[in-house]
Subunit: 522 residues, 2 copies
């Protein structure tokens, strides 16, 4: 396939009016690709926002079946263009081909799965409370509540998931499923992948007769495009996956708006793993292997990569460290996503060396790294909050606690996390540990590693601050759609409740699902 | 009953250390009551926050049945102290006794209803996605998701609902139901009602063995106590019902925190009512009567009191105005809640006279008022956004539109509202009007008035900005509890799904409900 790169997509229109240019980079060689990408101008961003506003008014009223078909068709389009997508994904991110394929399939599954959240009615969250005209002292009116879309959504592509958290990712899929138009601020670390993905969405949208402006793709290297997008009053919600610094900067810009909106920022985590004494005693080698594999995966460039391992002093700790050192030292050097990412990684591990003793120092060459294993005492951990700050990339610090009480104090002092993992035996009394963990994280994993975020209606990807800016919502799974919807109650619409259908509203999406499928609650 | 007034309640301890004193006022006479209320000092607020933090750690782990019993017992305690409560409610608010009784019963119903949200499991929103070890390419882990409480909640008492949106109100009830400790900033317009209510909650808490600090009641006349409460990092969420100015000032203070939290501010609304041509033609007198009664109710001091009436030019409009004028002019003068409220009302109607022509000017005397009826053209409405700003108190402006197209333009230009009401005939095609209304409000009422907010699991009390600061949530109904909870997913806890019970977690509240009641989804 022969595609043109370098243009912004203002709805169905290509545009490249700006003077600020930038290039994609091959992180394996640090060499630029040849296409010239032009950062969107203020006028281009404005035009995209205006189109998104108008398209929203059309798209939100399109029957839900058409939204379902559109989402599924994007998935098909991705599969049909798999080769080109995987080519650019690997070229720009240095991630291996098997990862590209897994992530591509994840994107497709997400689109289809979110389509099913619509098709089954789950996403509308309909609740019916029927009237009771005989109630005393006043008659009770009927109420039917359901979700409606909020308006144009801005999505920031993430550096570490060029498919599944960028243009083809969960934020875009859930915003479309919610009934919103979408504007993506492309991530400058993978502009080809992003542009190609955008073109596939736009082709699908055109084939499905979707309104011009349902999707726009804006190129940006600096912060200006993002600032304009989140501060414009036509924007009604924002999805972001990235660093704490990035998320907080966006929130600050949003705080200056006259009309507040929700920013859903998933800002990473150190994903602590806790080993009970029984677990480390019974399963030292198995645990060392599992955790090492999780730390090693794709150079640890995941928001769920484990960075902290809490364990009590024990005879088996020495063996655990030896085995992990073995796995770390044996591992191939892996290229990081971008020279900017590896530079930051090297800075962070240098800072971290001041707080924790290095057990195994990973080798490195250019942007290629091996994981590093470090260690600190519980006392050190408690006295220095910097130890718990995330290092993006493979880096694990063992926190050696002198007893259970110190381990619990360490866990209590944790800042908000996406996940806490707990290796323990099933017969153990874990009430206390669970009661602590549940206040510190959005997902608790029993005898498993945090990497691998299942796309499920029961998933929660988002924890207390600073792992997320809005821990009431998830960025993965069916409930991710709710980030771009708000509830509306319909009072005294009698026919809703007589035959679950309002005759004068058959064509409006927001009452479209009242077709008898939904039983009354409870 | 003989109660002491004037003290703060720092958990179970009474305290009155401050020098800043204030008094309750009888709005009918503008005379002070004799009790001296002492605004909480910085130290008292700090002590209450520390107790709330500690009590939360205990309360969140108390079995859910005990929470249910506690909520129901508060309701019983209210009924047992009905006489004293109603005495102070009427004395401080000038609201009539029948309203006091209705509101008291509403408070009791809310407490019992929210207890049932727990007892039935609704409030935990449990979602089970079972494992599939045979899935290719990777096995699927089990996931179980449920809600956990966020931590200490600060509630601001509302001036216009001394029971149902203050100490005994929906915010406190839903925070307790969620599993949170609560700190109330008492509203200075009804300090006796507030203090008496607080004492009833504390007595009930003690009788039920609840931890010291589960509830505190802090007296305040100026903004300092509120500022300290919302900026303290021990506070994890805030509930507020009041003005746009008040809500926005709180949000600004919260934006300065290092850890962001959610402010649930319900900030009022003009609650537009729309009449179709067919409706006004067929039911002029019935509609005039219903709307007049809604405007008149308790001097219009509701967030859902109707302030705008949209109608097309028609032969029946003259009759509608005449009949409404009749009802307005015949109505008794009603005392407003407080001299501060009536003063603001008189200022607002003076401002409003510049934009709209007065049809019937309500009489007034001291803090007593009659409703005013005004009128403006659709053109005037469209050219002056100030016309649509809320006037707190009985005041209705008819917006006379020259045709359906102008009426729709007016509706499109509305800012966010709690409600939109639509009087129409069932056979009419209302798709367009509904599609506009649904984007402008949290509740759409068909052939009815906006006053009267049913406490229901299908209720949505909260609309787009500026009617609410967080339109994703409701402040009335079962879903109000979700404002003080966040979801947590439990991965790979195998026994959850084998017999819906985790043996090592029987005593922890957060897995307490896995007792077989909950079916797997979908």
């Amino acid at each position: 396939m022969n595609r043109i790169f370098g243009q912004n997509h203002i709805g169905y229109q290509e545009s490249a009016l700006g003077d600020h240019v930038f290039f994609g980079i091959n992180p394996k060689t640090n060499q630029q690709f040849e296409s010239v990408f032009r950062q969107a101008t203020t006028e281009e961003v404005d035009a995209a926002l205006e189109k998104a506003k108008r398209a929203f008014e059309v798209y939100r009223r399109i029957p839900v079946e058409k939204r379902v078909a559109f989402l599924k068709a994007i998935s098909e389009k991705i599969q049909a263009n798999k080769e080109a997508l995987i080519h650019w994904f690997c070229a720009e991110s240095a991630l291996p081909e098997d990862r590209a394929e897994t992530e591509l399939n994840r994107s497709c599954f997400q689109l289809e799965y979110y389509a099913n959240a619509l098709a089954t009615g789950y996403a509308l969250e309909i609740k019916n409370d029927p009237a009771n005209p005989d109630r005393k002292p006043a008659p009770k009116p009927s109420l039917m509540k359901m979700n409606v879309p909020v308006g144009p959504v801005v999505v920031f592509g993430a550096s570490n998931f060029p498919f599944a958290y960028s243009v083809l990712g969960g934020d875009v899929a859930s915003a479309f499923a919610a009934g919103c138009s979408v504007l993506v601020k492309a991530h400058a670390m993978h502009p080809h992948t992003s542009s190609l993905s955008a073109q596939l969405i736009l082709e699908t949208a055109q084939e499905h007769g979707m309104p011009d402006g349902i999707f726009s793709h804006l190129l940006a290297e600096d912060f200006k495009v993002g600032q304009q997008l989140v501060q414009d009053l036509r924007t009604k919600a924002v999805g972001f996956t990235g660093s704490i610094g990035g998320g907080m900067a966006l929130q600050k810009l949003i705080n200056e708006r006259s009309e507040p909106i929700s920013l859903y920022a998933e800002m990473g985590s150190s994903n602590p793993i806790v080993l009970t004494k029984a677990a480390i005693k019974n399963r030292t080698s198995e645990i060392a292997k599992q955790i090492s594999a999780s730390v090693l995966l794709n150079a640890g460039q995941f928001c769920t990569s484990p960075g902290l391992l809490f364990v009590e002093e024990s005879a088996e700790l020495k063996l655990l460290k030896e085995e992990m050192t073995h796995y770390f030292a044996q591992s191939d050097l892996q290229c990081m996503l971008h020279p900017g990412i590896s530079q930051r990684y090297f800075e962070r591990i240098k800072e971290h060396e001041v707080y924790a003793e290095v057990i195994y120092k990973g080798k490195s060459e250019g942007n290629f790294i091996q994981p590093t294993l470090a260690e600190a005492s519980g006392e050190q951990f408690l006295s220095n909050p910097k130890i718990q700050e995330e290092i993006f990339g493979s880096y694990l610090t063992i926190i050696r606690c002198k007893d259970e009480s110190e381990l619990k104090s360490c866990l209590i002092s944790l800042q908000g996390q996406l996940t806490v993992s707990l290796y323990a035996e099933e017969q153990e009394h874990l009430e206390e540990l669970l009661a602590i963990a549940v206040m510190r994280a959005g997902r608790i994993i029993f005898n498993g590693v945090p990497t691998g975020v299942e796309v499920s209606f029961a998933q929660q990807h988002g924890g207390p601050f600073p792992s997320s800016l809005n821990s009431y919502f998830t960025s993965v799974g069916w409930d991710a759609i709710k980030r771009f919807q708000r509830p509306v109650a319909f009072q005294n619409f009698p026919e809703c409740f007589e035959n679950n259908k309002l005759k004068f509203s058959e064509n409006t999406h927001f009452l479209h699902f009242l077709n008898g499928k939904y039983v009354q609650f409870p």
